[in-house]
């Protein structure tokens, strides 16, 4: 087998940013602001390596496809997996073989070395490079590189400029470590490190309480999901043990065991619980309902970080996990069977919940945050309905257009709205002042809404098409409803930000800002610190009026806009249907796991049908039109929510985020921190300690009795008596002691004389 240098050495990709982290941390002071360039250089080289892996992986797939290693044994396996819909899938897989995706084997590149041994179980650390990992490497390094570049301008003069870049490096390193992980335990390690870094970055401005609160909330909420990850990863170990006899965390083995165990009735519950636990982890990390509440609060971090968290790291880690050990979910939750399953339900619910909340936000970043939640819902739902490739493809395109939108929002706030993110009070009419930002933002919005021919259009469409092909019709309509809502809230967002009259520029922002913008501390100390000192005007713009951003901010926006359109064209069945160019369906060829049905469920790609894009486009049009009428033209009047009781109640519910935050913060956390902890402590101090106290008191009482009556009168009597006798004797002898020298000398003389006399006599 051929050797591919970039694939074999993919471990370098996470290593380089990790080294950069330590370098910046240890020597950052010496470099000053140039520390940013260390981070930039490291992620740049990682990006180059990632591009190398992309090229080599493609050639590896091509070589496998044409160079043999045929999947000849499939037929036999398909009959073994004669389970409900699997028969149909298998049949289709065979017939779809003409399209050439499932009929060859392209092994993942796996290298590992022993990390440690515990009771004979070898725990490895290594790399598992396949299409999915390569795709993720490319996405993560690309977005991270752009964010690094963008940050050099956006965070210029920040209080902890170096720390920021150090954390950014570690963030990228952890995510890349997670991506290349060859076993689930290693994945867990990367997962937790990603959580730590997001904690550090969300709480980057920790002087203000709301920021550290948001950081804590993010960490604790994802940590709640990590209960599931801990349990799930442990169960993957035992899934393999059940199958092969020896436990292992190895991803390949886990996947094979999950497929292999699907026939074993006794193992169904193990698989189910494993899938459920891992799903909890995904819910926590990928902001799925009902643990999504941390994600909007995470906007407290610097905007480039939000872009990174939402596009390429942190939240997509959950989806990545779902895709990585997909057989566990597929078999554990019976995804192949149609009907409603847990994963699709969670995804579908999130999709609608997130979209609903996006309508009532005044903070542009929060609109985008809820839209991320909603889009992640699409991905998880996609995985849940068996649309693996489509979900991953959506992850791919979403990374670009969401990063585009976030960085665009950052640009608006940075240059147009005095570091505020409040659309209602500080923005409006900005398209005149910032035409380039406006253009890129519109492209991002188009992709998000799903305007035909943009990236989001193809990926969302593919999820819906696969859902209907897999007979998950219900979820198809959920997705369409979501598309309507997406189109509507994005129209509102664009309208408030870029159209109408400019509402910013009034002198006093303090009260209007929400917590994220109110970084007013230490503005006086740093004359040049225009980043996040809201009271401080720009150095280069004394009047503080809105203006266009400069290149380090616009550059990434241009690139991302380009990708927001064309990234979708590598998996565009519609275009393929029209033009029959191969490039339009390369994505599944390159990214789908070609390991045979023994290692992965068979992935089905539906035939193209015109009904799907038409429905999706119609949904978008409906959404935009409704929002245009409602917000733009005020077709129903200004204050409909105040006049209509039902709508008012709905809005109140949304403004209060379905009261989930109240439930979590006040009820669950409040109760744990307050009454429950206090009660436990009270029990500790008053009950358990009292047992001790009364035991002690009882013992003391008994001791008093013993002392008073037995010891003092009985036992002590004996001793006292003997002591008195001794004392009398001593008194007698003390009479002899006059203390006079010459008296003693006389005594000695007498004594000696007596001795001498005795000696003389006896001799």
């Amino acid at each position: 087998m051929k050797h591919y240098w970039f694939l074999d050495n993919a471990w370098l990709i996470p290593l380089i940013p990790a080294i950069s982290y330590f370098v910046i941390l240890l020597f950052g002071k010496r470099f000053g602001e140039r520390a940013a360039w260390i981070g930039l250089a490291s992620i740049g080289s990682a990006w180059v390596l990632a591009c190398g892996t992309v090229v080599q992986w493609i050639s590896h797939v091509n070589a496998s496809e044409h160079g043999g290693e045929p999947g000849g044994e499939h037929g036999a396996v398909e009959t073994i997996r004669a389970f409900g819909r699997s028969i149909k899938l298998a049949a289709e897989g065979a017939s779809a073989g003409g399209e050439g995706h499932a009929s060859f084997v392209a092994n993942p590149i796996i290298h590992s070395t022993t990390w440690f041994q515990n009771n004979g179980f070898k725990l490895d650390v290594g790399i598992h490079i396949d299409g999915l990992a390569v795709m993720m490497l490319f996405v993560v390094t690309t977005i991270s590189l752009l964010v690094h570049f963008y940050s050099t301008e956006y965070l210029k003069g920040d209080r902890r400029f170096n720390h920021y870049f150090a954390a950014l490096s570690l963030f990228s390193a952890s995510m890349l470590f997670l991506v290349v992980a060859s076993n689930t335990l290693q994945l867990l390690v990367g997962w937790e490190l990603v959580g730590l870094c997001s904690f550090m970055l969300i709480g980057h401005w920790w002087e203000e309480k709301p920021n550290s609160n948001a950081a804590l909330k993010a960490f604790l909420t994802t940590r709640t999901g990590d209960i599931g990850l801990l349990a799930g990863v442990i169960m993957t170990f035992f899934v393999v043990q059940r199958y092969t006899g020896t436990g292992s965390f190895d991803i390949t083995q886990v996947n094979q065991a999950a497929i292999g165990l699907s026939l074993d009735g006794n193992s169904k519950s193990l698989l189910f619980w494993c899938a459920a636990a891992l799903l909890l982890a995904i819910i926590g990390k990928s902001g799925q309902f009902p643990l999504h509440t941390w994600l909007p609060d995470a906007m407290a971090g610097p905007t480039p970080v939000s872009a990174l968290i939402h596009a390429a790291t942190m939240v997509v880690a959950g989806v990545y996990l779902g895709a990585r050990v997909y057989p566990i979910f597929h078999e554990g939750l019976n995804i192949g069977d149609g009907g409603i399953n847990l994963m699709a339900a969670v995804g579908g619910a999130t999709l609608l919940v997130g979209a609903g909340l996006a309508f009532v936000q005044n903070d542009i970043k929060k609109v985008l945050a809820y839209s991320t939640i909603s889009q992640l819902g699409y991905m998880v739902m996609g995985l849940g309905v068996g649309a693996w490739s489509a979900a991953i493809f959506h992850l791919f395109t979403h990374a670009f257009f969401k990063a585009n939108l976030f960085l665009g929002a950052g640009s608006v706030s940075h240059s147009g709205a005095h570091h505020s993110f409040d659309m209602k009070n500080d923005m409006g009419g900005l398209r005149k002042f910032m035409p380039k930002t406006f253009a890129t933002f519109m492209i991002g919005t188009a992709a998000l809404i799903g305007v035909p021919l943009t990236a989001g259009f193809f990926s969302k469409d593919e999820i819906l098409a696969t859902a209907s092909a897999n007979e998950y019709t219900f979820f198809k309509y959920v997705g369409l409803l979501g598309a309507v809502m997406t189109a509507a809230y994005m129209t509102r967002c664009v309208y408030l930000t870029f159209f109408g009259e400019y509402r910013g520029g009034h002198a006093d922002h303090g009260d209007a800002h929400d917590s994220h913008a109110a970084h007013t501390a230490d503005g006086d100390d740093h004359g040049h610190d225009h980043g996040h000192a809201a009271s401080n005007d720009h150095g280069h713009d004394a009047n503080g009026g809105p203006h266009e951003s400069n290149f380090p901010i616009l550059g990434p926006l241009y690139f991302l806009s380009f990708m927001s359109i064309f990234a979708g064209w590598i998996f565009a069945p519609m275009l393929h249907h029209i033009f029959h160019w191969e490039i339009f369906e390369k994505f599944p060829l390159w990214v789908d796991p070609h390991v045979g049905s023994r290692g992965f469920p068979i992935l089905e790609h539906p035939e193209f049908a015109w009904i799907d894009p038409i429905l999706a486009t119609a949904a978008g049009v409906v959404g935009v039109t409704l929002a245009y009428l409602f917000y733009w033209r005020k077709a129903y009047g200004q204050n409909i929510t105040e006049r209509n009781g039902a709508l008012g109640a709905g809005k109140k519910l949304l403004v209060n985020k379905y009261y989930l935050d109240v439930l979590y913060t006040d009820v669950i956390v409040g109760a744990t921190k307050g009454p429950i902890a206090q009660a436990a402590y009270w029990v500790n101090q008053n009950v358990i300690d009292n047992v001790l106290r009364y035991t002690g008191k009882g013992a003391a009482g008994a001791a008093k009795f013993v002392y008073k009556y037995i010891d003092q009168k009985g036992v002590d009597g004996i001793y006292n008596g003997s002591a008195a006798g001794t004392s009398a004797l001593g008194g007698l002898s003390s009479k002899l002691q006059t203390g006079r020298l010459q008296y003693y000398a006389l005594l000695v003389l007498f004594l000696l004389s007596a001795v001498a006399f005795a000696v003389v006599i006896t001799n």
Binding site: W11, N119, V189, S212
Partner: protein, 549 residues
Amino acid sequence: MATGFDAWVLTLTTFTPIVGLALVLLIPKVEEELIKIVTLATTVLTLGFALYVLYYFDYDHTAKLQFEVKKTWIEVINSNYHIGVDGISLPMLVLSAFVTVLCVIYSWNHFPEPHNVKAFLALILLLEVGMNGTFIAQDLILFFIFFEIVLLPMYFMIGVWGGPNREYASIKFFLFTLFGSALMLLAFLAIYFKTGINTFDIPDLIAADKSRITHGVQLIIFGGMFLGFAIKVPMFPFHTWLPDAHTEAPTVGSVLLAAILLKLGTYGFIRIALPILPEAAKSWAPWIGLLAVIGIIYGALGCLAQTDMKRLIAFSSVAHMGYVMLGISSLTAFGINAAVFGMVAHGLITGMLFFIAGSVQHTFHTREMSRLGGLLTQAPKMGWILGFCSMASLGLPGLAGFWGEFPAILSVFQPADGLNVAVFRTYMVIAAIGTVLAAGYLLWMLQKVAFGTPKDEWKDHHIHDVGTAEWIAWLPMLVLILVLGVVPGLMFKTTDDAVKTIVKAFPSTQTAPVKSHEPQAEHGDDAGTEHSEGDGTDHAPAESEHSGG
């Protein structure tokens, strides 16, 4: 049996502090510098001996007792001076010698009131004798004596140098522990008479045939040991002495208490209770596991109710030792390995947290978290170290705490054969929930102490950041936390075989694998290739071999 210097090195490791103690007592009280230097030299020399053991330890036979010495001691009761180390005691011995040195260094300019340097350092030296001795003793009487030696210096340390409520705390500590050890001694005597071979020798007792003892009696004997060790650990509901003792103890006392003294209990379980009475251990295991998970949740809740930083850390010990005991209760090699790892990790991490709490108190003269804040602005280094240790303590992978916690939770998924799987899996879930609570209280502490801006009362104070003595004392611990986190194999390799010998008494059956007749799966032909990997941890085996000498 060892010969030459090897035969002496363990004795030297244990009794060198006695020599130092004698020297310190000879030096006049006013010569404080000299006393400090002599103490430091003694502890460093002791550490040197311990490192000799570490270096020349045969890592291929960690189950075997090494540097073993067996000399007649008290013939009448057939008790011998039997010492030796195996893979389980070695890390504990080295940790003990190591932490003591760091404590002496830290004491250099952080002396608690009343400033009696001579007495304080003399007590530390005496304490070290007890701690080191406990970990090498292979005879029950010898073990018991060392176990008790520890008690007195700590009592005085709390009672003399402690906080405002020191008398209560010290007496509570003393009485609790003494109560436990009395029952423990009874259990030892019962073992001595009941096995019928009239010996206190631990290896002999492990090998002895215990079938003469009825199961009921075994349960009672185990119960005696359990009380003795569980109070020391401490397990819920015997933990109430711990927060008081920790809160009142001087910083160094807290560090030693957390890092070493608590481990005497868990070590006793692993070394004595489980292998000598495996049958009883099996019956007790579900209850031990229950108390362990209660301790995990309960300790965490206790933490959340605290306003005093040091008391919070003290309560977190209850929770963390819960994980250690949970690992032990699984009666599997995996779990006990995790327990030993957890002991060392907790010793390092919580020891560090107590050091920081001590320094915070030294600087701000308060530990009330509501009065603190903005440590990261005023003393950024200390703030970052606090953050680092909090992360380690809440079990972040890549730092030492994780490898005590995760395998312990993993092990209870499939406990030893004969234990109720459903019960233990419930424990697993509860323990996993405990990790969230741990993250909660540690991060809240971090937020209150380190984040935000300094409170008004400290605004104008000049706050000293980490000083030289602190750096010297802390850096080795911080480095070890990181190294053990990245290369856990260093520890697992040492303990693995020794632990396996212990759990031989608990055979675990495995369900037959589903995949029995199917052909080997088709995954990558290069899957097993040894190669390098990418997180900077690629030298795990190499490094462990290095330390193995």
